[in-house]
Amino acid sequence: MTADSKGRYSSGSQSSLLSRAYKHHLFWPLALWIALLLFNLFYSPSFFKVVVREGHLYGSLIDILNFGAPLMLVAIGMTTVIATRGIDLSVGSVVAIAGALACQMISKGSDQNALSLVLYAIVMALVLSVALGLWNGLLVSITGIQPIIATLILMVAGRGIAQLITDGQIITVSSTPYQYIGAGSLAGLPFSIFLVAIVFAISALLTRRTALGLYIESVGCNPEASRLAGIRAKTVMIIVYMFCGLCAGVAGLILSGNVASADGNNAGLWIELDAILAVVIGGTSLTGGRFYLTGTIVGALMIQTLTTTIYSVGVRPEVTLVVKAVVVLAVCLIQSESFRKAIISRWKTRRYPAEREVTRHA
């Protein structure tokens, strides 16, 4: 085909930087996030004010990073699961369980501030989280239950497990090292954000520098073709669910550390939905395949920005969820290529109907 080389030529070097940026998968998530931030700038200029207070940075943007950290973590794990055509509804429960176990262990200790105790509790909580991820992974890959059902089991049962661990109580801890995970600051920034950075870096390294990313995308695109190409699809699935469990576990530690207490009922409630939304906003398709970790981070930040915006703008609590839903709907519509095309073609046909007819008959 002679047109080929020509076509490629035009899409390659002729296109300007702007149209290349426009085509990048991060363009819409970033643009929408920036739009949301600009709205805040317009609404309350102090939104962007960051000051140093008691040795750490202080301001709405820092809050977004800090409170958004658990969501970002969960969403990173969710991204890898969704990339394999799966979904993990149980992350909220795992968040609650991890926090509950860690707080329970610390509150039983004689010296809650002992670093060894805290580390031990953290390790145990994370081990349990990974084990719960393994359970999900086994259900999905070995027994072949659909992911949405398989993880629904733990989503429902997990709250019960968290309650069992805490005995139905809110467990309060007074452990400085544990609180540091959720509320401490390092080099002026919330410590939790460093955890996000570490997990993000590790997952990016594992998926982009090793072959794991190719395996995940391949399995997500076409599990059977991947199996025939020699990829151990089941192993890949188990790994991503375990990783998702781990991410949820870390998120649970941050959430419970932030308020120095574990709440089996409410910790991480509905976080799975926000996480799925973040993944989708970030450009990863729910049908699996290509995934975008950076996009997910932007998506999570956008959701947290929206939440914080709603609090600071003073939306009445009765309509908070409606406002959130409307913004999310708008975001999804703007991101949808076919919707954009429909709008544009509408607009075009309205403008040039006569002209088109003329060329046709000519």
Binding site: T143, G144, G168, T172, V259, A260, G264, N266, S312, T320
Partner: protein
């Protein structure tokens, strides 16, 4: 191949359910151990706070003491669970049903079913908004409007000589719940006499610490001058205290804090001066409930409204009361 895996899935599910129901059964047996002719079905909201746990324990303990056969169900804060539990109680033909409604509305159908089955219903702690008062025998619990009024009254007294505006932020309970609506209404009613007292921001904190902290942080960024925080429960106040401290302010001094409930952690914060005033919301209504149950079964008529005895704590009083606070 595919069919077999599906079968496996089904099997796993069934097994899980079996385990779950088995657990439930063993629970029932524990409570039905004591010999008694009166059976009481109680549908609790959940275990969302220390207050609720104390409430649950009080009911369980006093039922055991009275020798009642208590069937206890935890709705995990979902109305549909609670309706399901009440229907189960009706099927089990318990003598009396008592419950703390998760939300105010939507109870008419299931309460009618209980009435048709001839089972009296007692509401505890939270009311329902049903127009048909015959659907329940009595409502035992705190008067949330009164609680709000007490909180507002204290604030009005504190600032009765204020010449400048006092900026108040409010952390509401779960949107739509009776305590959130009433505590807000009572508070607003009590402070409306003083035009300097102004609520500048009000947002739900879902009665949880995490939300309380998150919302308070946003309040602090959006409003440069906050004088008073009114939280609908202690947990949200405790979360907000962390936010205030993170902002480099002193809770109780830079921002006065009023809260409702008086659970142990709250009283402790009050004793440390971080909460200035707590209105008690007494969870120990077990004995009063058991008395009412006994009276209903005996055929006595009850007052439509039984109010629990409640006090208030300032920081000083909190210090004295702290050692006795069990919940």
């Amino acid at each position: 191949m595919k069919r077999r895996t599906k079968m496996w899935g089904l099997l796993t599910l069934t097994l899980l359910m079996l385990v779950a129901t088995a657990c439930g059964k063993s629970d029932d047996k524990k409570t039905s151990g004591s010999a008694s002719d009166i059976s009481l079905g109680f549908a609790q909201v959940g275990a969302e706070s220390g207050w609720r746990t104390a409430n649950t324990n009080s009911i369980k303990d006093s039922a055991a003491e009275a020798g009642f056969d208590l069937k206890f169900s935890d709705a995990q804060q979902k109305q549909e669970n609670q309706i399901k539990a009440i229907r189960t109680f009706i099927q089990q033909k318990v003598d009396v049903i008592a419950f703390s409604p998760v939300v105010e509305s939507g109870w008419d159908t299931v309460l009618k079913e209980a009435k048709d089955a001839g089972i009296p219903v007692i509401l505890t702690d939270r009311a329902v908004d049903s127009k048909d008062e015959s659907l329940y025998v009595t409502f035992i619990g705190s008067d949330f409007v009164e609680e709000g009024k007490k909180a507002g009254q204290w604030l009005a007294d504190q600032y009765k000589d204020a010449s400048a505006d006092v900026n108040i932020v409010e952390l509401q309970g779960t949107t739509g719940s009776a305590p959130a609506i009433d505590r807000k209404a009572g508070f607003e009613d009590a402070i409306k006499g003083n035009s300097h007292l102004k609520i500048i921001a009000s947002q739900t904190g879902d009665f949880t610490r995490a939300k309380g902290k998150e919302v308070m942080q946003a309040f602090l960024k959006a409003n440069p001058k906050i004088d008073v925080l009114y939280a609908h429960n202690d947990d949200m106040a405790l979360g907000a205290i962390q936010a205030i401290e993170a902002a480099g302010l002193k809770p109780g001094i830079d921002i006065k804090i009023i809260s409702v409930d008086a659970v142990h952690d709250g009283v402790q914060a009050a004793s440390e001066g971080k909460i200035n005033f707590i209105v008690e919301c007494n969870p120990l209504l077990g004995p009063q409930l058991m008395d009412a149950v006994r009276d209903v079964v005996a055929g006595k008529t009850l007052e439509k409204r039984i109010v629990t005895k409640e006090g208030t704590f300032t920081s000083e009083e909190a210090k004295a009361a702290l050692p006795d606070r069990k919940y």
